[in-house]
């Protein structure tokens, strides 16, 4: 026999299932858990977990990929915009500062040039030069340290200042050659007699007599330093000057004091302000702005730590990432929940379809078995009738003719044959009854009375075994139009089974409830041994019996099933081993039209 699913056994209905959803199962969807169910064999057809995964994956990808893409683009755009902004700001600062420095130097060059053209300066009078130096100091804020005049031979012919430089010959010095060539000269920084950083500014002037001389001044770098220190620099900024060899011309916060060589590469010459990125030896990522100061050996540099500059960017980035993560979690959550809901609906629909299919299959199978049983019964009945008559005749001869009446052994043998024929006949008749039902008289019945009647047959047995039978038929249960004989058989069969299941002193409860306007449910519950799960699937099949050795035919419940079907009802059973079994027989209040 091909095993079939589990038809007619009380499946939880959709409504029940939805009502019984606990919080846990709301999160862990039912289809996710491989249930130990009746439908396991067909489960591979409905891999709901897979459907759910596909749905979540596809929907998730479609919605998340663009979101992540846009966020990444935005991330980069914002980052680049901020970097560009910082570059621009740095460039502007470098330009402005560079201009100030240029101006500072030009101003002093111009002052020197102005003085050089004054005749009083041209005389080799150190007193006069001293007065001029004092005037310069007064006008330019103390930057000037000394002042000297060098003639066309390169000899310092006049000098005022702290050093004994009068008469010094500069003709072979590089700067002297340069000033003669270029007209003006600004030196690299050097530490003067007070170990303070100085620069030398020199201008060449042609006297009225056509002979040139050079006016040279040493200038403190204090004003530069003040200018650079005074800059408001964000991002751990550092502003300093180097010469073209990379030697610091002013103090640097990062790279130390004047005349140190900076660890960064000296940038290539550019007439404009430039901003580049560099990594210093300590690994800091720096934004470097620089500008070559015109007509001087100086390069103004402003460095800023990118990390510190981007401080605000980092908080923006954090916000952006937080937003992305929150969005992604919400989207995934909603998608997962929606998919779960849909897949759950699908599962319920599929399972219902499968269940109906199983029920139909089962009914058809029972009908087929019924027809088969009937034809087998018919085939057996004829030879059985012959045996019956032959044995009957033998007995008749014994009884009526008196010839063999004395032979008790023969009589006993014949009786035994007749008894066996009778037994076989009972089985074939029951088989026939299972398949076809003779009587179809519909009448109005009071279920309570009918059940009382049936229980009446068994009262004696119940008393002997002290089985307690409770019948509960509420007053509102309507009279039903049905077939008395069939109902009797149905109840008798099930109650008989219950009697066999319970031990002496067991309990049986028969109750009737209404189900809507058109049906009633008769429940017959016992507290007997229960039915094993694997047996539950087969109890309505003919010839299925767990009591074969005790003489069970295995037809009782299948006949019951057939009768209930005939009456337009249904039968369900729930059972737990050791706790008991309950049969629920649903009966229509009025019989279906085609059976009336």
């Amino acid at each position: 026999m091909v095993p079939i699913g589990r038809p007619l056994i009380s499946y939880p209905t959709v409504d029940q299932e939805i009502k019984n959803v606990s919080l846990k199962s709301k999160i862990v969807e039912i289809f996710w858990v491989e249930k130990e169910t009746d439908l396991r064999s067909s489960r591979h057809l409905f891999n709901f977990r897979k459907i759910w995964k596909y749905a979540v994956f596809l929907t998730g990808s479609v919605s998340l990929v663009p979101l992540i893409f846009i966020t990444m683009v935005d991330y980069h755009v914002t980052k680049n915009a901020m970097e560009a902004e910082f570059r621009l700001r740095t460039a502007r600062l470098v330009s402005n500062t560079g201009r100030s420095i240029s101006f500072f130097l030009s101003e002093r060059k111009a002052a020197l040039d102005f003085i050089a053209h004054d005749r009083s300066c041209q005389a080799s009078d150190p007193v006069r030069l001293g007065v001029i130096l004092e005037n310069l100091k007064r006008s330019f804020g103390g930057g000037f340290v000394d002042l000297g005049i060098i003639d066309e031979r390169g000899v310092q012919v006049n000098y005022t200042g702290p050093e004994p430089l009068l008469g010094k010959d500069y003709s072979r010095q590089e700067w002297y050659k340069r000033v003669i060539e270029d007209g003006t000269y600004v030196s690299d920084v050097f530490l003067g007699y007070r170990k303070a950083p100085h620069v030398v500014i020199a201008v060449r002037t042609v006297r009225e007599d056509g002979i040139f001389f050079v006016l040279r001044a040493s200038v403190y770098l204090d004003p530069f330093e003040k200018l650079l220190v005074g800059l408001e620099l964000s991002g751990m900024g550092d502003a300093f000057m180097i010469n073209r060899e990379g030697v610091l011309q002013t103090h640097s916060r990062s790279f130390g004091d004047v005349l140190n060589t900076i660890p960064l590469a000296v940038p290539a010459f550019s007439p404009k302000t430039e901003v580049t990125s560099e990594i210093d030896p300590s690994g800091r990522d720096l934004l470097v702005g620089y500008r070559f100061i015109e007509d001087t050996p100086f390069v103004l540099m402003i460095t800023k730590s990118k990390k510190d500059l981007m401080e605000t960017w980092f908080s923006t980035r954090l916000l952006l990432i937080g937003f992305l993560l929150a969005s992604v979690s919400i989207i995934i959550g909603v998608i997962a929940a929606t998919a779960a809901y849909m897949v759950r609906k699908m599962r319920i629909a599929d399972e219902q379809r499968l269940m109906s299919f199983h029920k139909l299959e089962y009914s058809n199978k029972l009908a087929t078995i019924g027809r088969l049983a009937a034809s087998v019964a018919h085939e057996i009945n004829n030879p059985l009738a012959i045996i019956n008559e032959k044995a009957g005749l033998i007995k008749d001869l014994f009884v009526i003719r008196h010839q063999y009446a004395g032979d008790n052994k023969l009589m006993a043998l014949v009786d035994s044959i007749l008894k066996s024929v009778n037994r076989a006949g009972t089985i074939t008749k029951r088989l026939l009854t299972f398949a076809k039902n003779f009587d179809a008289s519909i009448e109005k019945l009071h279920l309570g009375h009918l059940i009382e009647e049936v229980v009446g047959f068994l009262r004696k047995d119940a008393e002997l075994r002290s089985i307690d039978i409770k019948i509960d038929v509420p007053l509102e249960i309507p009279e039903i139009e049905s077939d008395r004989g069939k109902l009797q058989q149905i109840f008798l069969n099930i109650i008989n089974n219950a009697f066999l299941a319970v031990t002496d002193g067991g309990h049986l409860k028969i109750s009737v409830t209404r189900k809507g306007m058109d049906s009633v449910i008769v429940s017959i519950a016992d507290d007997g041994c229960g039915i094993k799960k694997e047996d539950l699937d087969h109890i309505f099949e003919p010839f299925f019996s767990t009591r074969v050795k005790q003489g069970g035919t295995g037809l009782g419940l299948s006949i019951t099933y057939g009768f209930v079907q005939d009456l337009g009802g249904g039968v369900e059973v729930s059972s737990e081993v050791g706790k008991g079994t309950t049969f629920h027989i649903t009966l229509p209040v009025r019989p279906p039209q085609d059976r009336r």
Partner: protein, 125 residues
């Protein structure tokens, strides 16, 4: 009382005839419709016991044929196939006929035969 038994199972019908004879009934048998009609031509019977399903002509057809010849004859049907259709056919056509499922108990059979023969004429006469 004369009884005619008609059944295609010869072993069955012969034995049953003998048993009825032993119980004092004047029983005769036939194993086909032709045989039954031939017997009915020669003799008259009070009750005919007919098998519902026989080759060529079933119990109901034989009843109709017999009724044409002997209108007072009463009928009892036997079947090895206790089907609802058979039953419905009998009750719808003749409320006074009886019906038994094989294998039969001899006492029940005799009781039925007596019950049927005691009835007055069929309703559809």
């Amino acid at each position: 009382m004369r009884v005619l038994l008609v059944d295609d199972e010869e072993e069955f019908v012969v034995t049953l005839t003998e048993r009825l004879g032993l119980r004092g009934l004047d029983a005769d048998y036939a194993t086909s419709a032709e045989d039954a009609l031939a017997k009915a031509e020669k003799n008259s019977y009070d009750v005919a016991v007919l098998d519902m399903r026989m080759p060529k002509m079933g119990g109901l057809a034989i009843r109709n044929a017999l009724k044409g010849r002997q209108p007072d004859m009463k009928f009892l049907f036997l079947t090895g196939y206790g089907s609802e259709e058979d039953f419905n056919l009998v009750v719808s056509q003749d409320g006074d006929s009886a019906y038994l499922v094989k294998p039969i108990d001899i006492t029940t059979l005799i009781a039925k035969i007596k019950e049927v023969s005691d009835r007055k004429g069929g309703r559809d006469d």
